[in-house]
Symmetry: C2
Subunit: 252 residues, 2 copies
Amino acid sequence: MKRIKLTVAYDGTDYCGWQVQPNGVTIEEILNREISGLTGEEIRVIGASRTDSGVHALGNVAVFDTKCSIPAERFAYALNRRMPEDIVIVRSEQVADDWHPRYQDVITKTYEYHIYNASVPNPMKRRTSTFVSFPLDIDQMRKGASYLIGEHDFVSFCNVRTNTSDTVRTVYDIMIDQNGEDICIRITGNGFLYNMVRIIVGTLIRVGRGFYTPERVKEILEAGERTEAGVTAPPQGLVLVEIRYGNENENE
Amino acid sequence: MKRIKLTVAYDGTDYCGWQVQPNGVTIEEILNREISGLTGEEIRVIGASRTDSGVHALGNVAVFDTKCSIPAERFAYALNRRMPEDIVIVRSEQVADDWHPRYQDVITKTYEYHIYNASVPNPMKRRTSTFVSFPLDIDQMRKGASYLIGEHDFVSFCNVRTNTSDTVRTVYDIMIDQNGEDICIRITGNGFLYNMVRIIVGTLIRVGRGFYTPERVKEILEAGERTEAGVTAPPQGLVLVEIRYGNENENE
């Protein structure tokens, strides 16, 4: 028996998120089905991040245990031949038998949020970015974002589904890049509460529009109440880019 | 009666190209249906470029004649409320009654071809770029492209559907930009033969792989035979970016 870690990329547009559920097809369900089909075992993967419906990933992580003789590194290739084209196994590798994608030490988690900021929507970007038609003041957004850097109680920036009492997280960096009509907000932290990135983005968009001063972000953070922050930005702009673990390659 | 010019953007992935045909839904068909629905007239648009199945546009052009009292500039807004989200009317304006999107003087037509060049495909880019897994030598591609600039007989770079005997076109510029894994080939000319951009790209990819020397592009051009050039690159990487006409705003 060996434990295989998969790094998984997907266009989440046509899925009801990661986690298996009765209402529609999920990423986890496809993985379970195709890995089971490949190995002949009944596989249930364990995922790192249960992304919401419509959210994308370039580097979500899942593990499963198998007796299959396929070399760990070859699973990516073998699985990609079976996968629908909107899910890609970026990498497969063996990890320790007790390695767990959620309980393992996470060093950093990185998300990007993509905004298409123009007067008319771009149909080629509708699945992977959020259209914002009013002008955004990027410098003000950067200033607002600066208040979130560091270790804080982010309870104002999480939605109720969170089943954790510990709402303290550390945000290491928020970079906001503008390239023509494309705006990318890249957030790195040691972990994120439920909807935290999307609420941060919704709040920063309000700053960019001039509805909130940058200092308002600091006040929201200090208020400790979800009702203070901006709306949750829509899912299609969000991408889980990378999860970095400590002692990642201990089996190598 | 007035003639309205529409600038049309679309994600062509889920359409059987521009032109109405029995086998599937086309962009032209959706435009006819929705403009007819809006005006109460039976509208048949005339398009500038009959893009192939899977090809995208940011600036294709269509015209139609209407007695409808909606101001010309408001058609974009009114139509976008009816359109599926993968087709967007970027702009609407009145043009002269005899203005024709194909017979009018075209100053320039610009296409982009997007390549995602990495070891593993990116599912978020699969609809709007072509995945190339082997390394590409961009400098060699640029050198090869340089032989195409200017007025040439491009018969070696067109597929048989072309029903024109005049295969001379002028290519003004080919820019090849690389940004990480994303490669964009931007081609501007006074017009393009059937599949010409995709055959140029297919040929340049061969140069980038090292299968062809850059000088081979010159030889292919001079050979005057379609069989000499590389394969036609797949449609999903191609975008019709802009068509610029002479005397465009004669009615304003």
